[in-house]
């Protein structure tokens, strides 16, 4: 296929991915709320940006993020140094989460809830330190999650055993945690995994499972993200109980 054709095909794919949102928003705006679309030209340029962005992202994924994740997984596996692999796993989980914008937003929201509920003093300083503490808590819990997940891939444990333990942990913590924190804790599991973390961590897991003898990349390679969305729930409820 000639390169120009390939670019058109890639742009067309991205446009197709975006089509459902455009249809939903247009339908509700025009048919349900019965209002005109404001700033039509600006919205068109914005949609064009999204299409270009998605296309570049997918290209970069296959050229950069997937190969580096897999290359590092192979090097760690061939080097056979478990300690450094687990350090890397922790650093990757912690480092990608601490700077995550969605987490920063949720932490600030949580501090507001805590201050309103009288759990902490209602002033800027204590709210800021509460939000900061929460961010570090979540980042540490994601680091630990990736460490556990990598260890599971190496050992080849079935993922459901660990998930059951995690679920039981969430249920136990729910019983003891203050009611105000539960909604935020449950949500924090979903917001931790960003668009750059997911491909890297997935490539790491799949790369490890394919380079270790006796592991199946499909059965053992996935599952790192699952742990990264489960541990923050437990840790945030723990944070709510302690602070």
């Amino acid at each position: 296929m000639n390169p120009l054709k390939a670019i058109w095909a890639a742009l067309f794919d991205s446009l197709r991915d975006l089509l459902p949102i455009i249809v939903v928003i247009a339908f509700f705006q025009l048919a349900v709320l019965q209002q005109p679309i404001p700033n039509f030209s600006e919205i068109t340029v914005g949609i064009l940006f999204v299409v270009i962005g998605l296309t570049l992202f997918v290209q970069g994924l296959n050229m950069g993020l997937f190969p580096i994740g897999e290359t590092m997984a192979y090097s760690f596996a061939s080097k056979g140094n478990l300690f450094w692999l687990l350090c890397f796993a922790f650093a990757l989980g912690f480092g990608t989460t601490i700077a995550e914008p969605a987490l920063i937003a949720v932490a600030e929201e949580a501090a507001l809830v805590a201050a309103t509920g009288g759990m902490i003093a209602n002033n800027e300083q204590s709210m800021e330190s509460y939000a900061q503490g929460l961010r570090y808590t979540v980042a540490v819990s994601v680091g630990i999650a990736i460490v556990i997940g990598v260890f599971r891939i190496i050992k080849g444990w079935p993922i459901q055993y660990l998930i059951v333990i995690g679920y039981i942990g969430v249920v136990i913590m729910t019983v003891f945690a203050p009611a105000e924190i539960i909604g935020i804790a449950y949500d924090s599991g979903g917001v931790t995994t960003s668009t750059i973390t997911v491909p890297l961590v997935t490539a790491l897991g799949v790369g490890l499972a394919s380079s270790i003898k006796g592991r199946n990349p499909m059965v053992d390679g996935f599952g790192l993200i699952a742990f990264a969305s489960l541990t923050p729930m437990i840790f945030v409820m723990g944070y709510g109980m302690l602070v």
């Binding site: 949102i21 809830v113 949500d187 979903g190 059965v219």
Partner: protein, 265 residues
């Protein structure tokens, strides 16, 4: 119009800033611990640059075009005067909110299809399974899960029932499904819960939750506005496990009917 391009530059700078810790960790470990040359280093760096530019365009486009309209829509649809029409606001019952349920379902489905991290996982799963798991099959299964999850989450906010009832029953359901699901799908299904809620879904869904909790009588936005993301992370696990069970069951039925025909001959 010009300000879109100026904003684009800022968004790209922000993205670079967000990615810096990751790049530091990767190259730090690569050069200090692994001490091995990276094959195709130039190509990988080009890939990183493309990812950064791509995310920059993507986020700026969303912020310029879809988020303001989507957020405004979430608030307008949850406005009691829109829902009640000429009726009394206090007399509203949970079934009067049908447009909100439909919007929750539709926006949950649509944002998930556009979610780049889900696309990444689908591409990887397709490669690893040698094409057995289709990228579209997985994405649609996940999107249906998110759609049902968010619609149910909206129902919870409107009725004011405790969040943990739903989540804990969801857990029990997932565990029962795990017992019967094909082994190769389990880890991927658990992962699909975490990847769905990201760049596109979270801002729109959060606006819907806070809008509803702010307008439904008797709800507190700080306490009841949360929880939609939790629904959106739990239900895709069920829908992906269900999708795998369904395709396995279909395969088995086909092979059974084929073997029956052969034995009849």
């Amino acid at each position: 119009m010009m300000h879109l391009f100026v904003d684009l530059v800022y968004v790209i700078i922000d993205t670079v800033w967000d990615v810096l810790p990751i790049v530091t960790i990767i190259f730090g470990f690569q050069f200090l611990i692994l001490r091995k040359p990276i094959p195709n280093l130039k190509r990988i760096i080009t890939g990183f640059v493309l990812v950064l530019l791509g995310l920059g365009f993507f986020l700026e486009g969303l912020q310029a075009a879809l988020f303001p309209l989507g957020r405004l829509m979430a608030y307008q649809l949850t406005d009691p005067s829109f829902i009640a029409g000429s009726d009394n606001v206090a007399a509203l019952r949970w079934w009067n909110y049908y447009w909100v349920y439909l919007f929750a379902f539709a926006i949950g489905f649509a944002t998930t299809i556009a979610e780049p991290s889900l696309l990444a996982v689908a591409i990887k799963a397709n490669q690893v399974s040698a094409g057995a798991i289709g990228t579209w099959g997985l994405r649609i299964a996940v999107a249906i899960g998110v759609a049902i999850g968010i619609a149910l989450g909206v129902f919870r906010i409107i009725t004011g029932t405790p969040l943990y009832w739903y989540i804990i029953s969801g857990y029990v359901f997932v565990l029962v499904q795990t017992l019967f699901a094909p082994r190769m799908i389990i880890a991927l299904a658990y992962d699909s819960g975490g990847v769905t809620t990201s760049t596109v879904t979270v801002p729109l869904v959060a606006a819907l939750g806070l809008g509803l909790a702010g307008t439904v009588p008797g709800r507190n936005p700080l306490l009841d506005g949360f929880g939609l993301i939790a629904f959106a992370s739990l239900f895709p696990i069920m829908s992906v496990l269900g999708y795998a069970q369904l395709s396995e069951w279909k395969n088995r039925r086909n092979t059974q009917s084929v073997t029956k025909e052969i034995s009849r001959e």
